[in-house]
């Protein structure tokens, strides 16, 4: 059974977003998404300084069998990326909500988080899809 922490917000495209105390937002892919992808062998991240709109392509995550795009859940400037994933992409599988984070964003408008799904709505969506 996939984990879906209640304190996070979720995009329908399977990214999670966490509002940090300093007002930045950390982004990754959900436990459900990493399970569906299988063993992650490569992650392509956005670059620091990239300005993303909500829904923009923000990178790619690849397993042995397939590649899958990742999208920005909210608009903002990329202020950090998780360089650990270059050498240890499998961290996305083992710890999707913590060490397996993808990038941090300085949001243009933090209230955009309200447009995202809460944990139970996201779980419902995953259940409907399967």
């Amino acid at each position: 059974m996939s984990q879906t922490p209640v304190e996070l917000k979720y995009a329908a495209s399977h990214e999670w977003a966490r509002l940090e105390e300093d007002g930045t937002v950390t982004v990754g892919i959900t436990d459900h998404a990493q399970e569906a992808l299988g063993d992650v062998v490569f992650v392509e991240l956005p670059e620091e300084g990239d300005n993303l709109a909500a829904g923009d392509e923000a990178g790619v995550v690849e397993s042995v069998k397939a590649a899958s795009d990742i999208y920005a859940p909210i608009a903002g400037e990329v202020i950090a990326v998780n360089t650990l994933l270059e050498d240890e992409p499998e961290t996305v599988n083992s710890d999707p909500y913590n060490d397996g984070w993808f990038y941090k964003i300085q949001p243009d408008d933090v209230s955009e988080l309200d447009n995202l799904l809460n944990a139970s709505d996201y779980e419902q969506q995953c259940a409907d899809d399967s």
Partner: protein
């Protein structure tokens, strides 16, 4: 379950796949396991370290009988069938009049018949083609009441010897009928992973008990189509419909080794197969424009099928036909067709991936050393 899956054919191991919680996908008209809970990468590594068990019952098993069977089949392939020794199997290709490859398959000589294993997606087409081209005195039978499994990996021989002691003496490409638990089985020492191993055909009702018995060994795991693909790619083996097709000759595909010596232009039974003229011209004069090569990525990003390959000036020189990050190789690996002048080993080329030019080098295959038991 969607409606489409109910229209798919199933193998004799279908219920077992579901019981083992396999993820099932449509493949060549069959509902097949793409992976088990272990996952593609671990399944791949397990096969290289211990022993992997594959359901390949979707493939076509065909028997040809009759005094003229070998001569008749030989007219369709650039391969020596007439002198294929009893108890041996050979890799063969159906070629079309332009020298293109209609299918690739394995053929065994069982003494009183020839036994072919053809690609699942080509099964119906191959049968029709054989029916059309074989003389009336050659009897053709599709064995659609049999299962086919592959046991592959360094521990396969030891496990197989428990099941059928006589298989211990077999070497690579030996192929014979063996009684296992009272069932007539066809066992060949070959496979599609680059590892030592066996392919075993058995009556459909014997498939599940035999697989359960093999799975009772701690060293054996079920392996899905996902890892089957990465294993064969590391082993440098073509996948028909991707690395090989009717627009490609065996020479362009780097399969000139599969053209048997007696069938070559200077051989005892030269030619006499579809496309011989073009294939001989390509062999003698290198009169082809592109050829299959192996590519190894210098970075970490996998380079997938259909990715365009460019030279240092950015000019398009070819296309990838299979690609992944090799779980054992540890690097991005691919097969591609490149313009001949860029195909030399060590040539630096660039894969166009998401707007970037990823450096790759033309490299020899297999990407991971083959470990067949040759003697």
């Amino acid at each position: 379950m969607s409606d489409t899956s109910s229209e798919l054919a199933t193998t004799p191991l279908y219920d077992l796949h579901l019981e083992l919680a396999a993820k099932m996908v449509p493949f060549a008209g069959y509902n097949m396991p793409v992976q088990y809970p272990l996952g593609v990468k671990k399944e791949h590594l397990h096969t290289r370290e211990k022993a992997g068990l594959f359901d390949v019952s979707h493939m076509g098993q065909i028997v040809l009988r009759g005094p003229g069977a070998a001569e008749a089949l030989e007219r369709l392939v650039p391969v020596d069938i007439v002198d294929l020794p009893e108890g041996k199997q050979r890799y063969a290709l159906f070629t079309d009049p332009q020298g293109g490859v209609l299918d690739d398959f394995m053929v065994s000589n069982f003494g009183d018949c020839l036994y072919l294993v053809v690609n699942a997606a080509c099964k119906a087409q191959d049968l029709a083609y054989l029916q059309q081209h074989l003389a009336d005195d050659v009897e053709l039978e599709l064995l659609d009441d049999r299962g086919l499994i592959a046991l592959q990996g360094p521990l396969a021989a030891e496990i197989m010897a428990n099941l059928a002691p006589e298989t211990a003496d077999m070497v690579f490409m030996d192929s014979q009928r063996v009684q296992i638990n009272g069932h007539e089985c066809f066992v060949s020492r070959a496979g599609y992973t680059g590892e030592d191993g066996f392919e075993i055909s058995m009556p459909a009702q014997a498939a599940e008990p035999m697989v359960r018995s093999l799975l009772s060994h701690k060293a054996v795991e079920m392996i899905g189509l996902g890892a089957r693909d990465s294993l064969r790619l590391e082993a440098g083996l073509c996948l028909y419909g991707h690395d090989l097709d009717a627009d490609t000759t065996p020479i362009e595909a780097g399969l000139s080794w599969a053209i048997s010596k007696p069938r070559r232009a200077d051989g005892a039974r030269a030619g006499g197969f579809p496309g011989a003229e073009r294939i001989f011209d390509q062999m003698a004069n290198k009169s082809y424009a592109r050829q299959r090569v192996g590519l190894v990525g210098e970075g970490r990003a996998p380079v997938r099928e259909a990715t365009l390959i460019c030279d240092e000036q950015g000019k398009e020189i070819g296309v990838v036909t299979s690609g992944t990050l090799g779980p054992s190789a540890g690097v991005p690996i691919a097969m591609a067709y490149l313009d001949k002048q860029h195909a030399a080993l060590g040539t630096l080329v660039f894969a166009a991936v998401r707007g970037k030019q990823l450096p790759m080098r033309v490299s020899k295959m297999p990407f991971v050393a083959q470990r067949y038991r040759r003697s």
